[in-house]
């Protein structure tokens, strides 16, 4: 019930925001935006050819770009691919504000899309036919790229969460694989008692991971209606997360290692970090980053917050978007569509990317794929089920990259000092509210 009302309110707010926008900048902009681009137009552009620049680090795009150029020999795809994360967004924002050197296609993670779409940095892809693709994707990623009837990118991959665990370690100490977060806490105690060097997980405070766990626990801290934003970490879902994680921190059951460092890869390999709750894209990183632990790890469903609950969440995942200043939008859309909805998907999945499209997730070939790394486990069954159980009513802030950048100064304190997690979240909320107001958002407290 509440969700429906929320949607109507959000829809109304969006319409008024759009109306305001239209009055403010005159009709001419919107005319060119809403003009539909037919499949024939796209085909004509592809036949005519041209250059497009793609800023993306997703490694499988290399093959996709090569295939695309083979299919349309007059099109040249310049794949600029050495940068990721913060540096990528800094470069993209700089180019957009300078109005120069903007790529035709950019990889944008779901958590960062709002920042670019709300400042009109991205092209609405609905007139190009993207709106008809909604049913192809799982709800989590589609919800992330679309806003009402606007579509700001096509989902490239997704990260439905799963619990990866080191079976060798669990077997050695005869610990059962946890199915709820309460059991997880018990397992953490048992493990650390059995081997003081081993921890159930590493965590020094990670914004993406925290928001994903809140998402799974049913907390909805961010509500976004156009430029109206509400931020509130004081709900039942957040309480669940705080209770469990505060105990893990207080009893020193988390390895003091930052994710993605060489120490982290080492810990995953030598059994001192025994589980990892993260997105379904992780197997590819296991294969290249932790080759020595092959055969030791398995995937399992995420522990539930209440026994029997199947709710899952997304962690990570990104889209391809077309910046508003892109020079060759037809070709840019054609490439995006090819890579994320057309023939490119199969190529990318075969190279280890985790799809966001239903057809691939549900296909028997995908589901029965045996993972050598997981000793032949058909892990995709777990991932696909998780993808189907992701609640679609989550939203990130339109300035989430900024909010994430101050996470360690606020919530992060709870991991390294006597600050409580609840106070840390409150501090994060206050700092985010302050920034939102400074940026001209109407922030509801």
């Amino acid at each position: 019930m509440r969700r429906t009302t929320g949607r109507i309110v959000r829809g109304l707010a969006l319409v008024s925001a759009l109306a305001l926008g239209a009055t403010a900048c005159g009709g001419s902009d919107d005319d060119s935006d809403t003009k539909a681009v037919s499949a024939g137009d796209l085909q004509a552009a592809l036949d005519k050819g041209g250059d497009i620049t793609v800023w993306a680090w997703e490694p499988t795009l290399k093959t996709v770009a090569a295939d695309f150029q083979k299919k349309y020999p007059k099109v040249k795809v310049n794949l600029v691919s050495e940068r990721s994360g913060d540096k990528h967004y800094t470069a993209l924002s700089n180019a957009i504000s300078a109005g120069k050197g903007v790529p035709d296609v950019a990889q944008v993670e779901y958590f960062a899309l709002g920042q670019y779409s709300l400042t009109k940095g991205l092209t609405d892809l609905a007139p190009y036919g993207a709106d008809k693709l909604a049913s192809k994707y799982t709800p989590g990623p589609w919800n992330a790229v679309s806003d009402g009837d606007k579509v700001y990118g096509l989902p490239m991959d997704s990260g439905p969460m799963a619990l990866f665990y080191n079976k060798t370690v669990f077997d050695k100490y005869k610990i059962a694989v946890p199915t709820t977060w309460d059991e997880y806490l018990d397992a953490a105690r048992k493990l650390h008692k059995a081997d003081p060097k081993a921890y159930i997980a590493n965590d020094l405070g990670d914004a993406g991971f925290t928001t994903s766990l809140l998402w799974q626990a049913g907390s909805r801290p961010y509500k976004v209606d156009g430029t109206k934003v509400a931020i509130n970490f004081d709900d039942a879902g957040a309480k669940k997360f705080e209770t469990i994680w505060q105990q893990l921190i207080d009893e020193k059951l988390l390895a003091p290692v930052s994710g993605w460092t060489d120490d982290w890869y080492k810990g995953l390999g030598d059994g001192t970090i025994a589980t990892l709750a993260t997105g379904a894209w992780m197997p590819a990183n296991f294969v290249t980053g932790v080759p020595n632990a092959k055969g030791q790890w398995r995937a399992a469903a995420m522990p539930a917050w209440t026994k029997g609950d199947k709710a899952s969440a997304e962690n990570g995942g990104s889209s391809l978007a077309v910046p508003a200043l892109a020079k060759n939008k037809e070709l840019a859309y054609a490439f995006t569509e090819y890579a994320n909805s057309g023939a490119g998907v199969a190529t990318r999945v075969s190279e280890g990317a985790f799809p966001a499209t239903k057809a691939e997730l549900e296909s028997p070939a995908f589901q029965s794929k045996k993972f050598d790394y997981f000793d032949g486990q058909e892990a995709n069954k777990i991932f696909a089920e998780s993808a189907a159980n992701v609640a679609s009513d989550w939203s990130y802030l339109p300035f989430q990259p900024y909010a994430n950048s101050i996470f360690n100064d606020t919530v992060g304190k709870a991991y390294v000092s006597s600050t409580k997690l609840a106070d840390g979240l409150k501090a994060w909320q206050d700092a985010s509210v302050k920034y939102g107001e400074e940026q001209g958002f109407t922030v509801e407290k």
């Binding site: 050495e82 940068r83 990721s84 300078a98 993605w260 390999g269 030598d270 290249t288």
Partner: protein
């Protein structure tokens, strides 16, 4: 090596060392346990990372995770690592190496040339505004390059030069420290009488510079060249904000990009290649130091003893 640099601005230092206490000659150095221990610690501090680098360049990705950092793993993969470093991503490491060489030859070479010309002029010619220039140069030495990077980026962006090799080369041409060093060196190394003699013999200013002054400046030039080469070779922040196209990256930026691949979903984790690449990256610098050492050392001592 670096200790001798810091000990070098040395004229009055040398004077202070001449204390009335017991004389000792280079052949019979006085022992000092504290200094020896300190020195040993310094050597350890500088050499251990290097040893770590050499040892770990012999390991595969799984060997890196399995073994102790300061000893070899079971697998010896140095040659494989070197080959992989040069072939990974269609051999882009080679391209980065060439880029770095280009930046060093044009940037550091140009900076040295400008420093030599400017330093000579400031040392040996009288003209109005010299004191102001002195203040400016000394001030410029104190401004860290990082602080200038963003304003430089904005300026270059206006000129449309960002994302081109010029954006790295042109700012590298300015080396206030090199200029200052050349200035001090030229003042000491070239007797003004020699220049007067050359002029009296009817040599033009250009000829005096090239035939009389330049050979005397050689040790100083090598020193400045080494400084600017190291600065350009290691430059990270400037190329980071100026360049977007990986085809123009220098080694520093390329290696950092490889390293951050480990933080990317689906990214290839290649710490072994990052380490091997780092080792390969410092080899040319080590070679340059060893090769140019004798010029460099004779340069440091110039003017410190009354002849």
């Amino acid at each position: 090596m670096s200790t001798s640099v810091t000990a070098s601005p040395a004229k009055n230092g040398a004077a202070r060392l001449r204390t009335p206490r017991k004389a000792h000659s280079p052949g019979k150095p006085r022992r000092n346990v504290l200094l020896t221990v300190l020195m040993a610690l310094m050597v350890l501090y500088t050499v251990v990372p290097l040893i770590w680098l050499v040892i770990n360049a012999t390991k595969t990705q799984s060997g890196l995770a399995d073994s102790n950092g300061l000893w070899f793993a079971h697998d010896f993969a140095l040659w494989d690592n070197i080959r992989d470093t040069f072939t990974y991503h269609d051999g882009i490491f080679g391209r980065w190496l060439l880029n770095t060489l280009l930046y060093v030859v044009l940037g550091a070479g140009g900076a040295t040339l400008l420093a030599v010309l400017g330093g000579y002029a400031l040392a040996k010619f009288q003209f109005p505004g010299k004191r102001a220039i002195f203040a400016l140069v000394i001030g410029a030495v104190a401004v860290p390059g990082t602080a200038l990077a963003v304003p430089t980026f904005l300026m270059f962006s206006k000129m449309g030069l960002t994302d081109t090799p010029w954006a790295v080369i042109i700012p590298s041409l300015v080396s206030p420290f090199g200029l200052y060093l050349m200035w001090v060196f030229a003042a000491e190394a070239i007797p003004t009488e020699l220049l007067e003699a050359a002029r009296m013999d009817g040599a033009s200013e250009v000829r005096t510079f090239f035939q009389v002054a330049l050979p005397l400046l050689a040790p100083g030039i090598v020193t400045v060249l080494l400084f600017t080469t190291v600065a350009t070779w290691n430059n990270y922040f400037l190329p980071l904000i100026m360049l977007k196209d990986p085809d123009w990256y220098p080694l520093t930026l390329g290696l950092s990009a490889w390293s951050s691949q480990a933080q990317t979903i689906g990214g290839d984790v290649i710490f072994n290649l990052v380490i091997t690449g780092s080792l390969l990256t410092i080899l040319p610098l080590i070679a340059a130091f060893l090769f140019l050492q004798k010029y460099w050392q004779s340069g440091l001592a110039a003017g410190s003893v009354k002849e």
